[in-house]
Point group: C3
Chain length 355, copies 3
Amino acid sequence: ESEVKAKAGGGAKFKTDDVSIKVGGRLMYDIDWFDDEAFTGNTGSGSDSELRRARIYVSGEFGNWEAKVQGDFKDDGDTALSDAYIQYNGWDDLELVLGKHKEPFGLEEQTSSKDITAIERTMITNALAPGKNYGASLGSFSDEFTWMVGLYDHGDEGGNIATGVTGRMTFAPVVTKNQVLHFGAGFRQSRLAGNEYGDADQRLEIHTADEKVGSSSIVGESITAYNFEVAYAAGPFHAQAEFFDAEVDGGFNADTDISGYYAQFGYVLTGESRPYSKGKFKRVSPKGENGAWEMFGRFSQYEPGSDEADAVTLGLNYYASKAVRVGVNYVMGDMTEGGVNKDGNAIAVRFQYVF
Amino acid sequence: ESEVKAKAGGGAKFKTDDVSIKVGGRLMYDIDWFDDEAFTGNTGSGSDSELRRARIYVSGEFGNWEAKVQGDFKDDGDTALSDAYIQYNGWDDLELVLGKHKEPFGLEEQTSSKDITAIERTMITNALAPGKNYGASLGSFSDEFTWMVGLYDHGDEGGNIATGVTGRMTFAPVVTKNQVLHFGAGFRQSRLAGNEYGDADQRLEIHTADEKVGSSSIVGESITAYNFEVAYAAGPFHAQAEFFDAEVDGGFNADTDISGYYAQFGYVLTGESRPYSKGKFKRVSPKGENGAWEMFGRFSQYEPGSDEADAVTLGLNYYASKAVRVGVNYVMGDMTEGGVNKDGNAIAVRFQYVF
Amino acid sequence: ESEVKAKAGGGAKFKTDDVSIKVGGRLMYDIDWFDDEAFTGNTGSGSDSELRRARIYVSGEFGNWEAKVQGDFKDDGDTALSDAYIQYNGWDDLELVLGKHKEPFGLEEQTSSKDITAIERTMITNALAPGKNYGASLGSFSDEFTWMVGLYDHGDEGGNIATGVTGRMTFAPVVTKNQVLHFGAGFRQSRLAGNEYGDADQRLEIHTADEKVGSSSIVGESITAYNFEVAYAAGPFHAQAEFFDAEVDGGFNADTDISGYYAQFGYVLTGESRPYSKGKFKRVSPKGENGAWEMFGRFSQYEPGSDEADAVTLGLNYYASKAVRVGVNYVMGDMTEGGVNKDGNAIAVRFQYVF
């Protein structure tokens, strides 16, 4: 009655009776080269290498309860808590999650960083998706229909919790082994309590770049955002797009609009499909011994206030196994900030290992 | 000859011949609401959510030697080393512990944070128990009688180690499955070397509260403290009390007295007993499939110098399993600081998962 | 087809088919006492206790790919990433390593901190070996011949990567169970980009000492270093020596020379040999139930610029098992800094546990 399993990309799991404990992690190492004003802020070129994510987790499952603690070791000596939550699965189809976990907003954001097609998520997703925070979520997940909604701690407002409400629902009218059609919508509202909305400042999808768009400070009382998702996959082909619109309520000052969208198309040259499950995609898993190859393109547009940026990414992924991925992205970026236009190009290489 | 075991609340253990390695951790997530001066420092209300503890450990045992490294991931990016010690068990009943480990002082302090009845330990325990530090301890633990004494590194004093000596002994004249009677006493002396004794400042047993009692700075050459413990448990009932007295030697300045006590009573509504072993208590382990329910009350008194504080806590614990606990505490606090009286009430909720 | 193994000093490994995941770590706790100017900077004495290393790692192997994430928990709340690399073994005898790993330079540096004979490495090794950095290495390792060369990220130079090139090759004309003769050579060149070369400042091989030699700042455009290694082991006897010479190119300013060497002799009193494999040594593994005893002596010389330091270390190691080591080192240090001579003595004790 004692079972042990090491699974590539799925951690080491040991199970006795109704208790199981898992240990795993992920490692992403990037090398980036870029030039010109959209990336360096000047006319020169730049380069950097970076450990993008180095995580170790322990998770457990006991009866209807599970929990996960995941540390994300940063290069500068800090350790972010990537996940630290307790989940209760005892109410039929409902899941209750408490602690630090990912807020439900956006298809690209819900897709794990291990599983996204490009090396980085888009500007608009990074600007508007709240990411991982402390709070409580309630949700339900089936093959065709998912929803989750939650209340989160977004900092301090005069000694009290500055709350955020976030929710997402998805519907997949077609979900077969060969074909997926997905629709989704999300909503969030967070108190800013007179603080700057710092997530509005975004790099052009190269994480080590020096330059950001949206440098004018956006301050407000609260932020309200909506998004719509559509995705389609058929055999080796997959496509997805998301549209976002947000308003920062300036209180006595003017409101500021933040909007954007992206569209992405991919094709797996070796014939595998991109897996889909319960409202999000997973990464390609190679069938043959020689791994899988995938090519993709993405157009991304982002407008924080009166600034504007867009990025075109062309990329190639090699999936050596469930555990290993090597990705190369070529990014052509363009931004207009305070009326000044800046552009530039970049190449990013990622080496990814999932324990 | 290779054995693996995942135990709820006891980590995942793998054993080959005479070597064993264990991986586990704990996660505690709290939400607190409080109002008035004893908690917020002003007449308003406050609230906060907090990851109180998120720990991952690896421990090993090889012959007579064991060791443990436990990291405590903090919210602000820091990682405290909760434990980092090597233990030698090769001398009959003696244990030698080297490295960072818990100093032997106080029943409530020796009881693991996973196992204490209330969400937080009392003010007087937090003020006087030295907690986990680097050093060397020698001890012996049997069912009826335990003692431990050690020498610790309490910082720097003119380029040398500022030493601390700490010791505790306990005696349990009654230890049956159904009944426990426990007595204990502790002693500590630490060099302060002219520094402030910061542990004297304590919150009223709500960890995210803004206000602390004991804000007048207590500076001295050394601190000497004593404590006495008494505990009794019979079937589902359990009670414990501790009395503390300490003196900060002011050197050329006046000495300062720090004293306090607490008394706690609990009753497990579902009939389980609170387990006791080798000088400390463990948490309730539910017998039935529906978990165990426990109610308790605690009165806590604390006097740092000329200030004074007390807190009454009423609480309810639900133990879903060995791994999961949910606790709700209602705290009524009161403090007199510099002659000014402040009071207030608070509610704290804890979600706890032990891997 | 699922296999689990806990190995003292070798972690807990679980394997299913062609996937394996390992969890392990190390813990080193030191207590140091020292006196006089070479260690304290004044004529007094000093002491300190320190958690020298507390590491937890997760590593994985899947087909030709492996990866390791190792966190090093520091006392001050920081966590250094000790290792974070992906390795590809699919090209015959070649290994490709990407991410944070140890640069190939110096026999003492390549030997793991778990396996070195003294408590600390020598001043000249710590001053010139680049240690663990981000980059890419290619190497080949056989019993008799090894080489590795790599390109590394040594910080920022005007927005671009300040690169380093490092390489090492070793040759062992004799490698039998009883006898080893080893030769090696290393080379490194790193961009300093006008920054100070901070590694030139070294303590006299006592890690908690206050005083360092080489306090005059050495600034330059780049550093170039060479080293030569020789080692011989026969039965319980082992010896090794290394010679280093480096030049910091001052650009428009004067160049600075950094040089040094050490020689070390050890003897295992209980008869075991010091293991050697693929260009580096491992620690002694006791054969009998009562552990192994080893004594050693080391002379170490270091000359950064016009300063000079030497240290004589006499030591005794007790290996209780593959997992446990206790070491005592007596260090006699001497330095001349800016024409002023300082000397002193120190005792260091280490307790080491390898999971």
